[in-house]
């Protein structure tokens, strides 16, 4: 039975999921846009962020510390990874980049499985966001509302970074025309390192913020990665606004379809992606730059 309250609550669920997908996809898309690397380990980084936060939480009991740890840890992982592995792959064919990041994803997942086994872990929401909120016409878990707010703040920070800083200018220029940026004599080497770190951090931050909603499991990143791909294809690769729009669309499709029949949520998501590919092959807000 689909009631009005049920519908609105699914709409909110979709918003929360969509916001998360938007954040993760932004990370994926700026890495791809600036570096030309499609990071197949992005889902695993989302998962790593959750576990890093979980560890911090189990030692300190503070959700804030957990979130900061999850984000920072992934920033470090991203930077180290870029220095040690990824940067050797800029000049190699894109297929090699897919292969190596796919291998890294396996290593991440299996490392976490080694330390935490396959049992799922949970992080409770912080006290102020615990419980449920009365919206007047319905009750809704407070933390899910908070997720939308937290993610919106993170997206705003990303937006400011991309559109108001020198670094962001270089990243956006790189998305438009990477050859030109290379030839301008900018120190793209360090920019790439930071961009990869920030992209990874976006995934890690989303991972720990999502931890009170969905319990942690080592292979949770896989489904997220697939959804992220759909988001990016719908929104347009390399487009930050596209990632946000695509994320919200995907979140609502998954959520609203689940209300009718969860089994069809992926089929609908896929149908939406196909529709976009047929009508606008470069995505809703995509540019023709990178291919």
């Amino acid at each position: 039975m689909i009631s009005w309250a049920n519908f609105v609550s699914q709409l909110f669920n979709g918003l929360a999921l969509g916001a998360l997908l938007a954040l993760i996809s932004s990370g994926l898309t700026i890495i791809y846009g600036a570096l030309g690397v499609l990071n197949l380990a992005h889902g695993a980084m989302f998962m790593l962020g959750g576990y890093a936060g979980y560890v911090a939480y189990s030692y300190t009991g503070s959700f804030v510390v957990a979130v900061i740890t999850g984000a920072l840890f992934l920033f470090i992982v991203g930077v180290v990874l870029e220095r040690v592995v990824i940067r050797h792959f800029y000049k190699r064919p894109p297929e090699d980049q897919l292969l190596v990041t796919f291998g890294l994803a396996i290593c991440f997942v299996e490392t976490v499985r080694f330390f935490f086994e396959s049992l799922s872990k949970t992080v409770p929401p912080p006290k102020i966001f615990a419980g449920i909120t009365n919206l007047g016409f319905m009750f809704y878990p407070t933390y899910r509302l908070a997720v939308v707010g937290i993610v919106a703040v993170a997206l705003l920070a990303l937006f400011l970074m991309l559109y108001k800083t020198r670094l962001g200018l270089i990243v956006r220029a790189g998305i438009e025309d990477s050859v030109m940026v290379d030839s301008l004599g900018l120190n793209v080497d360090r920019v790439f390192m930071v961009v990869f770190g920030i992209g990874a951090m976006a995934a890690g931050f989303a991972g720990i913020v999502n931890a009170p909603v969905v319990s942690l499991a080592p292979d949770m990143g896989e489904a997220i990665l697939v959804q992220t791909f759909v988001v990016v294809v719908i929104g347009g690769v390399g487009s930050f606004p596209g990632a946000i729009l695509g994320g919200l669309i995907a979140g609502e499709i998954i959520s609203l379809t689940s209300m009718v029949n969860p089994g069809y949520s992926y089929v609908m998501l896929f149908a939406a992606m196909t529709l976009v590919l047929v009508l606008r092959p470069h995505g809703l807000l995509g540019v023709r730059g990178r291919e």
């Binding site: 791809y32 894109p94 292969l99 890294l104 089929v267 896929f270 992606m273």
Partner: protein, 649 residues
């Protein structure tokens, strides 16, 4: 390189470096040599059940390796040969397996092999539809879309279709095959008794795949992997070929999926999982990409390591972490997998042995072929071929552009260009940097669509066509920046262009050998003679000197027998000596065709061309004979006034 063997035989490619003797092709080697891979595979498959148990291999593991190996053959054609990395093969593997298993269990279908084929056909049909969607984009988009599609199949199997597929339980009770021959019945059970059945299908699979990769289709697939842009520009309809590769991979996946159910007596739902696609990718990369046997070897390594790490080293679930690390290291340091690594090592050792002999034997440039009279014979054969294949002789303006304009946003690259070239003419185009010459050429060959205007070729409106269609009509160009098939040899490069001319834009002659195509060998040989690369025909592009690459670039355009050939800066970056040679080349190839040449070398153009068109700031500044252009005040103004280039006196 000092440790070479003085007695080493010279590299076969250098034996008749500058002699015009007819070329021996590999296909003329004896049948035993030609079918070496097939024969060795047969021997290996027959020997396996006697040898492998000595190494401690369980029959189920061996059968499983064969299923992965067969699955991987199709994937290797898709990824290794065509360059399309799909992470969604599980969808087709699962589909083929589920259909076959459903027929054999719930539908009570009696015949195993027929069920396997039906499963394969369904997977092929599904692959066609999936391919239509996934191939709308290339590169990483293709990978992302295949991942997403595979995930849909996984969920469809678990929920909406669980009534047919058994959902998370899969389909148990898949029977093993038996053949009633009237007087006796062959029954295959499990383990080694099932092995001959598996080995038979693997063998069939590898024989067909070897034929495909040796066919013209295989050559075009490799060309697409190396340089899709050029493959399309020499006249191949690459979308069709990519789809064909995808469908071939789907057929192999579907059949292998069916075999999985038969082997296990149970069709598992996890065939649909992302892990299945991932494992296939990893195994192929471990064994060797683009080798056909890589997936089999990779699967063997994977499954043996899994057993070894789990059972012998007692690592438990950590085995996958170890394999993941091995895989990452392999991608970093041994890109071509085990087979590729061994091949590189052999090539390196052989190169050490013959390296210097080759360096001495291969002349940097042989003048012989460019003597004005000597290549006349070759010249005329190619010229006649060009006209014969087109079967028409065009008179009057072969190319006519009217009011051609191209804008990129607010920037006007070309504006209102009227341009006409007569058949048989050699036209030069000059203009300062940024005059819009290359954009103009791209519009003429339909690489970019004009914003407005109209282009006619041989009286036919070609304005809306694509580069492939136009090349098939006989209009093509050589590129300003070399667009070659880098990992292929000179001969293979030329062959690919000639194939488009001889076979048309799309033809699925997958079981035919390349060398059996009538006229191909002559056309390739003539083109090689024209561009003076006969002695380098077996060298991979990466080993060519810059001038040789430049000539090959022109050769690719020539091999498609164009009636109108556009050359974008054929002399760029050449030494004075190379320029002289290339001008000779251009003179020798203008027989029987019309040419338009862009270059900055005015001396050369004034010597070559009958008429010159000067472009400036996207417009035609003036047009005339070389003498008129030399004396033209506006031209001198354009060059001396704005830009740093001096006009030749």
């Amino acid at each position: 390189m000092s440790g070479r063997l003085p007695s080493a035989a010279p590299d076969p490619g250098t034996q008749n470096a500058s002699s015009p003797a007819p070329v021996r092709t590999p296909a003329r080697r004896g049948p035993t040599w030609r079918f070496k891979a097939e024969i060795l595979t047969a021997i290996g498959l027959v020997a396996a059940p006697f040898v492998l148990p000595l190494l401690g291999a369980a029959p189920d593991t061996v059968n499983r390796i064969l299923v992965w190996g067969l699955f991987g053959i199709g994937f290797d054609i898709l990824f290794g040969y065509t360059g399309l990395l799909s992470f969604g093969q599980s969808a087709l593997y699962g589909t083929g397996g589920m259909v076959a298993a459903y027929l054999l269990t719930r539908a009570g279908f009696p015949h195993v092999v027929t069920a396997l084929f039906i499963g394969m056909i369904v997977a092929t049909a599904v692959g066609y539809l999936v391919g239509l969607i996934a191939l709308r984009r290339t590169g990483i988009y293709f990978a992302m879309i295949t991942v997403a599609i595979a995930e849909v199949f996984y969920f469809a199997e678990f929920n909406p279709l669980s009534a047919w597929t058994g959902g998370e339980n899969g389909l148990p009770g898949v029977p093993t095959p038996s053949f009633n021959l009237g007087f006796t019945t062959f029954k295959f059970h499990t383990g080694w008794s099932l092995y001959p059945f598996m080995a038979f299908w693997y063998f069939i699979g590898i024989v067909i795949a070897l034929r495909i990769v040796r066919s013209p289709v295989g050559a075009v697939l490799r060309a697409i992997r190396e340089n899709p842009l050029r493959a399309a520009a020499v006249g191949h309809s690459i979308h069709g070929y990519k789809l064909a590769a995808f469908v071939i991979a789907a057929a192999y996946a579907g059949f292998a999926g069916g075999l999985l159910g038969v082997m296990q007596g149970f069709m598992p739902p996890d065939a649909f999982m992302f892990d299945t696609s991932g494992q296939l990718v990893i195994q192929t990369a471990i064994g060797g990409i683009g080798t056909l046997f890589g997936p089999l070897l990779g699967a063997a390594v994977w499954l043996f390591l899994q057993d070894f790490l789990q059972a012998t080293l007692k690592l438990g679930a950590t085995w996958k972490l170890v394999l993941g690390l091995i895989f990452v290291l392999l991608v970093c340091f041994l890109r071509n997998g085990i087979i590729g690594g061994v091949r590189d090592l052999v090539a390196y050792l052989r190169h050490r042995a013959t390296g210097e002999a080759e360096a001495e034997a291969a002349p940097a440039f042989s003048d012989e072929a460019f003597d004005e009279d000597k290549p006349a014979a070759a010249k005329h054969t190619v010229a006649t071929h060009a006209t014969r294949s087109r079967a028409r002789e065009f008179k009057g303006p072969i190319l006519k552009a009217t009011a051609l304009t191209k804008r990129y946003g607010g920037i006007v690259a070309n504006e209102d260009i009227d341009f006409s070239v007569d058949a048989g003419e050699l036209r030069g185009i000059i203009g300062p940097n940024g005059a819009g010459k290359s954009t103009f050429f791209k519009m003429l060959t339909c690489e970019v669509a004009p914003t407005s205007g109209r282009i006619e070729f041989e009286g036919r409106d070609i304005t809306g066509m694509d580069v492939t269609e136009v090349c098939q009509l006989g209009l093509t160009k050589s590129y300003q920046v070399n667009q070659l098939f880098n990992k292929l040899t000179v001969r293979e490069n030329i062959t690919i262009a000639a194939l488009a001319d001889l076979r048309g834009p799309f033809k699925l002659d997958m079981l035919r050998t390349v060398s059996r195509i009538p006229g191909l060998e002559e056309q390739v040989q003539h083109t090689l003679e024209l561009v003076n690369l006969v002695g380098r025909r077996d060298a991979p592009v990466s080993q060519l000197a810059y001038g040789e690459k430049r000539r090959l670039e022109v050769g690719l355009a020539l091999a498609s027998s164009p009636t109108l050939l556009l050359l974008d800066e054929p002399l760029a970056g050449m030494s004075p000596q190379e320029r002289v040679e290339t001008v000779k080349l251009l003179k020798s190839i203008r027989q029987g065709r019309t040419m338009i040449v862009i270059d900055h070398d005015m001396d050369a153009l004034f010597e070559l061309a009958e008429r010159i068109t000067v472009l400036q700031e996207g417009r035609v500044l003036v047009e005339g004979t070389p003498d008129e252009i030399k004396g033209n005040a506006k031209v001198q103004e354009a060059y001396l006034g704005g830009v740093h280039e001096a006009i030749a006196p």
